[in-house]
Symmetry: C2
Subunit: 360 residues, 2 copies
């Protein structure tokens, strides 16, 4: 296998800088312990890039992202660039990276163990044991469909899916289901949308290749309900870009804090089995708590673990990071979003506890 070790670190805005700094410390520690020789290169994106260059993503950074083996991404979003007169929108950076790098498969795992069940807004009896994985299509649908725009007092967006786009994301989802509990829930709105009817048809067609996987189709509104009523019933879910955005944010609350939820956005696999990929926490830039040193770094560190496994081909290093996170949380070392203001510790303290378990 080719040695893969170039990681572009795109911290972005708000707490993005704090949580990626934490993940970088962890990646350095794991690189040292396993002799990975990781090269971590910082890059400006989002509001930070608008401030410096007037654009959320420069061509230079896009080129470096293409050349890297993986991207660790923080968060973008800055109230200064929210208005209609802003030179660019910070969010364009992440949308352009996803699209330009062909990162079509967004994996968002949600696990609720005993400890986090106690912190969930849902009752423990309902949420404990949840172990689901949302596979969100990330480069199609209404996020990128043409035409879109505004004509006078009328605005429009287009939701589009083609059969090949649906096929490839379905294959990813079925493949992951085969390695898990072999249940797949495909989520759409086939009673209203033409794109959803095609979605349902193609997913059903792909299912023929995976006779061991039990497939069900669920409407997005019913899914938003079942996520609360019986979250343990789900194994793998597959859905389009917009529905995936909403459902994963809903699901991210199940473990009690979205400061825990990692994600991977993958391109098609390379010949050596690794994927180019971008890894980011599900949470945003949280301008309200930025700069205070209290952001939860776990989601980003867990994203770095996914990066090690899927883009760098380092499963052992990934497992070491995941074990260190679990042990640290189990020890009761966590930020305020988890433990509240009296018991919560700083971003730095959590990070050091994780690093100490990787490289004692």
């Amino acid at each position: 296998m080719t040695t893969r070790r170039k990681v572009l670190v795109a911290a972005g805005d708000g707490i993005g800088t704090e949580v990626t700094a934490a993940a970088v410390e962890v990646l350095r520690a794991v690189s040292q312990r396993f002799g990975l020789g990781l090269e971590l290169e910082p890059a400006l994106v989002g509001g930070a890039s608008i401030a410096a260059h007037g654009t959320a993503l420069t061509d230079a950074v896009l080129d470096r992202a293409r050349a890297a083996d993986a991207i660790l991404f923080g968060a973008v979003g800055d109230p200064r660039y929210d208005g209609p007169d802003a030179p660019d929108r910070p969010e364009r950076a992440i949308l352009a990276l996803r699209k330009q790098l062909g990162l079509f498969a967004n994996l968002r795992p949600v696990r609720v163990d005993e400890a986090s069940a106690g912190r969930s807004p849902l009752r423990e009896s309902i949420v404990a044991g949840t172990d689901l994985l949302v596979v969100r299509e990330l480069t199609g649908g209404i996020y990128f469909g043409q035409p879109r725009g505004r004509e006078g007092e009328r605005a429009f967006d287009t939701m589009v899916y083609t059969a090949p786009e649906i096929e490839r994301i379905a294959h990813v989802a079925f493949g992951l289901a085969m390695r898990r509990r072999k249940r797949l829930t495909s989520v759409d709105k086939a009673n209203v949308l033409d794109t959803s009817r095609l979605w349902r048809e193609v997913v059903t067609r792909v299912a023929a290749n995976y006779p061991e996987v039990e497939l069900e189709h669920l409407l997005v509104d019913a899914c938003a309900m079942d996520m609360l009523r019986r979250p343990t019933r789900f194994d793998v879910l597959v859905t389009g870009n917009m529905f995936g955005d909403i459902l994963t944010d809903e699901a991210s609350m199940l473990p009690g804090s979205m400061g825990l939820m990692p994600s991977a956005s993958l391109a098609p696999p390379r010949p050596d089995g690794t994927h180019p990929g971008l890894y980011e926490p599900i949470h945003g830039s949280a301008p309200d708590i930025a700069g205070q040193g209290i952001a939860n770094p776990v989601a980003t560190i867990a994203s770095a673990a996914m990066l090690l496994r899927s883009s760098l081909g380092q499963p052992e290093a990934a497992a070491a990071v995941e074990a260190a996170i679990a042990a640290t949380l189990a020890e009761g070392v966590a930020t305020v979003d988890i433990l509240g203001p009296s018991q919560g510790v700083s971003t730095q303290t959590v990070t050091e506890a994780i690093v100490a378990r990787i490289n004692p």
Copy 2:
């Protein structure tokens, strides 16, 4: 005020027939007690209409719906007509009624009192005291935008909003907020969609007419999260058709069973202040439990109360129905979705308990 009393009863499919039969008993009782002279006329819609006439909504029923003062709607959806070869889709009935009758404002209230907080999948400490109202735009957006369809292996739908469409739903929402706690949350996806950017601009413009209402803008993904994290923070929410569909189903779980959630879909007001309207429970046709006599009739009976108030101009009769529902639930008389299989009673028993309190 003109006497308004013609109600078209469109039961639809599955448990739709059972729950509307229950609501009809209640309407008869309240008509007798308050001397309303209600005329309740049944009509076939959805799968039932496909079976009889090959179409989910006949022109004759549409004409009768136009002529009625209000429509009580059950639920549509039948697995027999789910496939691509079905002569028609049951859901077309409700979509056509909404569009043809101009029922642009869908009101979905969610209240969680002490009793229901104990049954919520959310912890009581988080959910108790929730009292929110979702105002969903119902005749626009991606549900009806053109063009839509399929070309070979490519399918597409169009999300469209015009400024006047957004203005009128915003006025409804601000108006309702004025009569409540004067907070309005407008939900969109302005960091991605052009329609959402227009939405945000127009809602902000309309806000100038309601200086007492505190307006916030929230992204749909963040809203799906906050609905679980801090549902009590919401007063009135206003959003587009698709986001409203997903968020109201999520919100419908807060009181523990979606068998409790009514809804009203209103056209612009008439000169006498009443609105033509369609009233329906939020739940679907639930084919899995249809015909067993165990469906929860409360959502439909509560919808009938909204019908009395908003379309027939009978606030006292509406309040009597609502009081009877509350008393019945408080007494511990409820269906299995609320009380479980050992304590839950039948649709009929719940209905009789409610009727007995209206017309003792």
